[in-house]
């Protein structure tokens, strides 16, 4: 587990608490996702890296269609910022699903 794994888990938890977020998904690129699937299925879903400029964070979420996706994505970005505790970060919030009926989203266990 990397040093950033606990932070990534905190980001996951913060996203799950955002109104309108119905699913949190793996943010890793496809190749990394395949490796992740094979070796570490319990790893955090959000991707948190670090370089000289600070943190690089990528998250992938499903949102309900009740509110415009951009509004929910903005709330998600704020929640991630709070989870990072003010640490400078480049953040990408990727809306990977827009779910018509949150109750039938099939996101049980991840949302």
């Amino acid at each position: 587990m990397s040093d950033l794994e606990p932070l990534a888990r905190r980001v996951d938890d913060a996203l799950r608490a955002v109104d309108g977020v119905v699913g949190v998904y793996s943010a890793r690129p496809l190749a990394a996702r395949v490796l992740h699937t094979a070796f570490d299925a319990d790893a955090a879903l959000s991707s948190v890296g670090e370089d000289a400029d600070g943190l690089t964070v990528e998250v992938s979420i499903g949102v309900t269609d009740a509110a415009p996706s951009v509004d929910t994505a903005r709330r998600a970005a704020i929640a991630v910022g709070e989870a990072l505790g003010g640490t400078p970060a480049s953040l990408t919030v990727r809306v990977s699903r827009v779910v018509r009926d949150a109750g039938a989203a099939g996101a049980v266990g991840v949302a």
Binding site: T37, S69, A77, L91, A104, G106
Partner: protein
């Protein structure tokens, strides 16, 4: 789908169908944490409900090849594809995937009574704010429904969903009635 399964999950359409049949238990994190798998599972759920309805009402034998063709389209459409910017603010980038948009268009059409979406396409350059994109939706309409009206409903619902959730400039939404299916008029379809 490629060798890595749907969305790189390692699971095939058959695997997802089996997972659905088992009530999604025991939970498989690789599937539950994968948006493409989730979109396919939702489509399978909707298609299964329609198929069961048709069988229960003895309205028609379900054409397995048609079912398979629609599900193949679903697995193609849910691929994430490109990121489309929703908003940019300093170091914060908000994006939506093409796959999410295609799945949303399908779900929007499937939610309308008497309509099953067979195919969706987003044609054109999503970055071209001048020309915009053309959205193509092929649907199957329940026998007895007015095709023109069904197509109009799909077009309007799709336009509303795209306007609400994407920044895309939509040049046109072309809805094609590709086939008819039967359903029980008293029980409804779903």
């Amino acid at each position: 789908m490629d060798d890595d399964g749907i969305g790189g999950s390692g699971y095939t359409l058959d695997d997802l169908s089996d997972y659905l049949d088992r009530g999604r238990v025991p939970a498989i994190p690789e599937i539950d944490a994968n948006p493409e798998c989730q979109a396919v599972l939702d489509s399978l759920t909707r298609m299964s409900a329609v198929s069961k309805e048709l069988v229960d009402t003895e309205a028609a034998a379900v054409d397995a090849s048609w079912f398979d063709a629609v599900m193949r389209e679903v697995t193609r459409e849910v691929r994430a594809g490109r990121d489309i910017p929703l908003a940019e603010d300093d170091d914060v980038h908000l994006v939506i995937t093409e796959g999410a948009i295609r799945a949303m268009v399908r779900e929007t059409g499937d939610a309308l009574p008497g309509v099953i979406v067979e195919r969706t396409r987003i044609v054109g350059d999503v970055d071209d704010a001048e020309e915009g994109v053309r959205v193509e939706v092929a649907i199957s309409v329940a026998y007895g429904q007015r095709m023109r009206r069904a197509a109009d409903h799909v077009r309007r619902a799709t336009a509303d969903a795209l306007a609400k959730h994407t920044p895309l400039r939509i040049a046109s939404i072309d809805v094609t009635v590709d086939s008819l299916h039967t359903f029980d008029a008293e029980e409804g379809e779903r």
